[in-house]
Subunit: 482 residues, 2 copies
């Protein structure tokens, strides 16, 4: 018999799932890159400028030295006692590596750990959360994961029973959420962020969408909030967060707080507050609200995407539900130990007085201030373009400008059966090598068009991006202006 697996016979949930961040435009970009390598004169540009994904080190961002020192020493502890090591590594990285190794049962960095992660590292993380929020954190609430994505999948797997279960998600959203909900067979209940108020999150909109979902027979189980926002870059005001907590409490919803950009705030008037801190400051305890916070080593100033470290802090569930979350974690045994160690480091970096403190702060602030400058430059550049408006880049790693496409461009896109924003992004890529992700990959108010642009290209490349984009945009508008 011929092999039986065809596209018509695979899981339709897999087919339905979409993930634009690595989708069509990116595949085209990789193809162009190969063509340029083979034939440098093939296109009017010599390199692909990836602005599609929050992957800082792929664009030249350096890793934080102290973190990498500790990882190397934990990978090869045999060198800890050698005199040459003192010349190669900072004294506090040696000390920290010893401390971490002491926290690992048998000092075995090659062993599966507890399925929630190494207890000593979870202690460190819980202490850091306490210090950040001013409220207690319990290491037994921490589940360490290979980046934040598996943690999100785990919660979706726990909560979604059928297509009658809904998850309230922001639109625009990071497509991990729509992908995970599709894979687990649930229903994405959209709520629209308000572009006019800087992508504000209105509780009235949440209520309206919840009611509508209910009237369609959907049981809404959870609310996803991404703060700072992806792809929108907004940072929620504390008052707004309080209203969201109140809404979740009133409606009995799990609050799934994507807080992976907690270190990425670029404007002095905004500050990151964890939802747990906000809920506890309102007097709400574990008994009042189910709250899950996701964190990752991939973002922040560290940007260690390839290490796949992260955790979720799970509060408010009963011991019996918790056991099932633990079981889900245990089926995959544990997350990678290097990522676990790194997660403890980003939550507990060098402190005043540590040998590496000054160099660490210089590296950290160098990255964050450069990101802030790049965000501002790009934001200003977008706002100078005809028909483009771009909200303030308050945080995260993205801008999500809106583009008023001429009717003629929309028609041209329709003729080639392409969404207008994809049409724009594809033209931009083919003519300039710049890679944006079309807004349709994140969701947008119907009839509006956007794209996501990261602020991550190296600072010295930003002027060229602005010039190329500006020139392209002018040509594009000239071509399609009515």
């Amino acid at each position: 018999m011929a092999p039986q697996v065809t596209v018509d016979s695979i899981n339709p949930k897999v087919i339905e799932c979409q993930y634009a961040v690595r989708g069509e435009i990116v595949i085209l970009a990789q193809k162009l890159q190969q063509e340029i390598q083979a034939k440098p004169e093939a296109y009017p540009f010599q390199e692909i400028l990836y602005c599609n994904i929050g992957n800082p080190q792929s664009l030249g961002q350096k890793s934080i030295t102290f973190f990498r020192e500790v990882l190397a020493l934990c990978d090869h502890p045999a060198i800890l006692a050698k005199s040459e090591t003192q010349a190669l590594f900072s004294a506090d990285s040696i000390e920290r590596a010893r401390k971490i190794l002491d926290q690992i049962p048998g000092r075995a960095t090659g062993a599966y750990s507890h399925s929630q992660g190494i207890k000593g590292l979870r202690d460190t993380i819980a202490a850091a959360i306490e210090a950040r929020d001013g409220f207690p954190a319990d290491p037994n609430d921490i589940f360490m994961t290979d980046g934040a994505s598996p943690a999100v999948h785990m919660m979706m797997q726990l909560l979604i029973r059928s297509e009658k279960d809904g998850i309230l998600c922001p639109i625009p959203q990071y497509p991990l959420y729509s992908a995970s909900i599709a894979l687990h067979g649930g229903t994405l209940v959209p709520y629209y962020l308000d572009e006019a108020t800087g992508w504000g999150l209105e509780v009235s909109e949440l209520k309206k969408q919840l009611q509508e979902a209910k009237s369609n027979g959907i049981t809404v189980r959870a609310l996803v909030v991404i703060n700072p926002g992806n792809p929108t870059g907004q940072v929620l005001a504390e008052e707004n967060q309080k209203a969201i907590v109140e809404f979740c409490k009133e409606e009995g919803l799990v609050l799934l707080a994507d807080e992976v950009y907690q270190e990425n705030v670029y404007v002095p008037e905004k500050k990151f507050h964890s939802f747990k801190k906000v809920a506890r400051s309102m007097g709400y305890s574990e008994k009042d609200i189910h709250l899950v916070s996701f964190q990752s080593v991939s973002k922040g100033y560290y940007g260690e995407c390839g290490k796949r470290g992260g955790y979720m802090e799970v509060t408010g569930f009963g011991a019996d539900v918790r056991e099932h979350i633990y079981k889900l974690a245990s089926v995959n045994l544990c997350s990678n130990i290097t990522g676990q160690i790194l997660a403890s480091l980003v939550m507990s970096p060098p402190k005043v007085g540590d040998k590496s403190y000054e160099s660490y702060i210089a590296e950290r602030d160098g990255i964050l201030s450069s990101l802030a400058r790049r965000a501002k430059t790009l934001e200003d550049a977008f706002n100078k373009l005809e028909g483009i408006t771009c909200n303030k880049a308050e945080g995260a790693m993205y801008l999500f400008p809106r583009i008023n496409l001429p009717k003629k461009a929309i028609k041209a896109a329709e003729e080639v059966k392409t969404a207008p924003d994809l049409f724009y992004c594809r033209r931009l890529l083919n003519e300039t090598g710049i890679v944006f992700v079309p807004g349709s990959g994140f969701g947008q108010v119907p009839g509006t068009w956007h794209f996501r642009c990261t602020i991550l290209p190296q600072e010295e490349k930003i002027p060229a991006i602005v010039t190329r984009l500006t020139d392209f945009h002018k040509r594009f508008m000239d071509e399609f202006r009515e």
Copy 2:
């Protein structure tokens, strides 16, 4: 409103999923360990002897020096050019680290990679598969994953549409398979390994179970084979593998080959053959059979469980199906880079002439020969116990002895509403500190009882395990003998 998530309202597939390797007995063991730490005289033993899980480094197995040198250098490439590094690291580890870094775009070990894994590392793995099998391997067929578990989940997610889709699984089986099938809502179609013939895999049994499943309205989509076997430790004969390939071809089934123990063969008369090699040697190409092979850095002589490296080699699917597998991989962005590097290293270790070759071989063979001795000692010890028969430990890391429990013991177990094998294992743990996993966690012919015991405790501890087990078993049988 009170929080709404209770055990009655979570996904029933999560509740149904079981994972005995980290289940009740292990939770009890962790509790006892804490009690002993607090009060050393609490039990008649001073330490817990974990024989429950294939986690070699947690029991003192050392990592392979060359592998860890390369990982450390890739984690902190800044030291590569320093003179002290030459004193601390072997020359070929420095050379290999440089080569790997050159294969990573931008030398960025902190960046997300291609969702299938770094291309250069996949080239290395494909070349190693070719050298192992004598048949071509394509780097584009390799999907690197965080250990083998996510790869197994990915294939189950792809293949299972509903409870009407079945996966043929060996009984006994590694409970990842039953857990993953349960989580994805499919049906496990069991086929029984024949204990009487050393856990042989009879194609007649496959045919019988396939027919029975079909008559129950189940569409069987794939066959799982674990070779070398977990928990049974058997190594399939090549003729047997040919018959299995023929069966999958005839029935149009995907062959999911769990080959993570490919380096763990302990008897001279048996040899590991990959299913791909067997299929190709029969003249079957990609067009004839869908074949997926799983490999992991967690097993073999390397035992790097905590690093979560692995890959699957996917052959025989159309380009359109492949795109959906790629999409699933891309939703999680990529597997961890440290694990990716390690997967390339275990498939391409030092070669004759390399500086580390001799010490590498000494480390490798030291571990493998010790594992073979431990397996034999435990096998012999089990076979000396009243009512216990244990098949030959040919490969993998486990023994799966059968125990003929006295009726009185079965009755005593029933009285406390416990499966008889769990009853035995719990008593064993409470009286000796030895942790076995009850056979019911893996599946067994109804009415037979087994337990799984790893061969991994340090060699010097094996005599004490044998003595404690023998004494306990005698007491247990004396207590319950009719």
